[in-house]
Amino acid sequence: MLAIEGRHGPVIHDANEAALRIGMKRGARIVDMRALVPSLRVEQASPANDAADLAMLADWSRRWCPWTQVDGIDGLLLDTTGSDHLHGSEQALLKEMQDAFRKLDLTPRLAIAPTIGAAWALARYGAEDTDSCTPGKLTAKLDPLPVAALRLERDTVQLLNRLGIKTIAELAGLPREALVRRFRKIEEKNANPVIRLDQAVGRQPELLIARQARPPLRVMRRLAEPLLDITGLTQILRDLCGDLKPVLERAHKGARGLAFTVYRVDGRTCSSEARTSRATRDPDHLASLFDGKLERIDPGFGIEAATLETVDGEELGAMQDGLTEQAEDELAFSQLIDRLVARLGMTSVLRPARRGSYLPERGEAWVPASEEDAPVAHAVDRSAATPLRLLERPEEAEVVHAVPDGPPALFRWRHQQHDVARSQGPERIAPEWWREKSTARLRDYYHIEDSQGRRFWLFREGLADDGRGSNPRWFVHGLDA
């Protein structure tokens, strides 16, 4: 028995046949049922996993026909129109399906009918496990079934039952005008017996929407003889890139990520990946992304096949050569970025991005050049005030100063003394109280030139009497031209 969390504690989500036979009902509370049958075995239900499994099963059942769809939480719809003769007949198809599902330890209830509604009704409420129904016998088959077989929700079924309508035959026997008028305001299909009845008998069409399977954009080359020499791989890769171009063109796609896989004779595979900063299908460029990566592939006892697959793609329409050089420049530049990223890694090819902060290390970040980055609102422009180079982190300096809160007179940085000749400042940057702790201290930045003309960017952290620690310390934060 499977339990799911209900409004007042766990309730029965579903139960096996044995449990149903002794009177367990779906939706009943577990504690009540435990009182009746103390020996119940209860497990937690997981509807998400069930749905995923059902979707997989829908793909798997494409072996019988090209269009399959998941129906609700416990059903599959297959459009076998035109595919049954491939398996002999409808009966043979049903038999084959039943065997296949039984091999998976599943107990299917199967029905073939001219409409989706009829098949649904026969599968769930029909007398037999497998049932097939021809258009001529449709009403005869449906008539004895209860109205719940019309895919109606509980309230509607209850309403019809109260009106004395128990079977589909009784519903179909009512004057149609009266029925339509009674339910004319209800648009919900599950609550409107007229629509459902029409769908079941085929007066109203219903579509089966199958999930489109997208074949992977992959090309393969098999080698006549196992390849032992790694240098031959370059040629194979170039051929594969050439093969991939028409495949991508047909799909109107451009590659953003590529995986090159080689299959060795001993059954192992080696693969190598590359990424691009914009969608492309230029064979030369794609091949160049793997420069230096092929050497790492170990051919072992020989390579017998190789594939190239796009692991990540983007829509890319047909391209026209630009009328201006600008576009070509952009393309060449992005290809350069790709090649650099392929060799150095994404975090090593960077471009500056301004951020909304006056603290230099937060005001500008180096972001991967291969990724699009939305400009930050309220970015701070500090081009006039900042030095040309910024040290990775501020380095502490020993400072002698003439006045406590003034510029330094000399400082020692990395074991060497610099006499300050000229200085400009301070430029005071207050701590960002919304980010930092309350003990963070302000910074007074000074542009400093030493006696030899070298320029530095120093700051004093805090003031002598700000009550946020001991004496203020000095740091070298940047070097200037």
Partner: protein, 248 residues
């Protein structure tokens, strides 16, 4: 030292003031030693400097076409010792921070590969490579490859060497750069002003090696020689024609 005459009056760089300088040379002086020194033609230039002195990078940036796309390649050691460039300060040298790409390489082999890769691309206007010390892979062949490609592609390539020794190299010009006390600040006598550099050209193909004192002129985006006298018109060593020219 045997220094060329009149050199104090001719701007060091470059494309913008080339015509002025050439006119000056042709019309009034006619002296072959007084000609613009920094390359008009893009080529490989090697700059030696000290890691405590960011002036080398400034000297290189002053020669890069304004607003062009720049690939800046850094060795790991350089990034640790002298820090990364600050993109916004790039704008002080008339560059566009959006056009700056920084590549961090683990070793010199990767750095040279990145620079060569950049030279295959014509959308760049300059490449700056920063190398620490004297790596073995940076030999004559490697520099020759860079030099040939730079000239073929028309890309300015600056190889900045920190703590390096001038061994064998195919660079077309080799400079020793160190900072000088800056120009007077126009409003504050105590503050540092426009940067000045001592540029020692110790090896070049077409020019006689010598030492100059250069100053960056931001408005015109060029390197100027530091005048020996702040007011050129008062300098008695200059001919009248030059005095007139400077007075313009």
């Amino acid at each position: 030292m045997d220094e060329p005459r009149f050199k104090h009056d001719i701007s060091l760089v470059s494309n913008d003031n080339f015509r002025d300088a050439r006119d000056l040379v042709d019309d009034s002086i006619g002296d072959s030693t007084a000609r613009p020194i920094l390359p008009f033609k893009p080529q490989l230039v090697e700059l030696f400097g000290h890691f405590r002195d960011a002036g080398v990078a400034g000297f290189a940036l002053a020669q890069i076409p304004a607003g062009g796309r720049v690939l800046w390649v850094q060795e790991r050691m350089v990034a640790l010792e002298t820090g990364r460039p600050f993109g916004q300060a790039f704008a002080r040298f008339r560059g566009d921070p959006d056009n700056l790409v920084l590549a961090c390489s683990r070793n010199t082999t990767d750095l040279l590969w990145t620079m060569e890769e950049g030279l295959k691309n014509c959308s760049l206007s300059a490449i700056i490579g920063e190398i620490w010390g004297d790596p073995r892979v940076l030999d004559f062949t490697a520099t020759k490859r860079l030099a040939m490609r730079a000239e073929r592609r028309g890309v300015r390539v600056f190889l900045i060497r920190f703590q390096g020794h001038p061994d064998l190299s195919a660079a077309r010009q080799r400079w020793n750069i160190h900072s000088l006390p800056s120009a007077p600040h126009p409003y504050d006598a105590k503050a540092p002003g426009a940067p000045r550099w001592n540029a020692e050209l110790f090896r070049a193909r077409t020019i006689r090696p010598s030492t100059w004192q250069a100053q960056y002129d931001r408005a015109a985006h060029r390197l100027d020689l530091v005048p020996a006298f702040p007011d050129g018109a008062m300098d008695p060593s200059q001919p009248a024609a030059l005095r007139r020219w400077r007075g313009r």
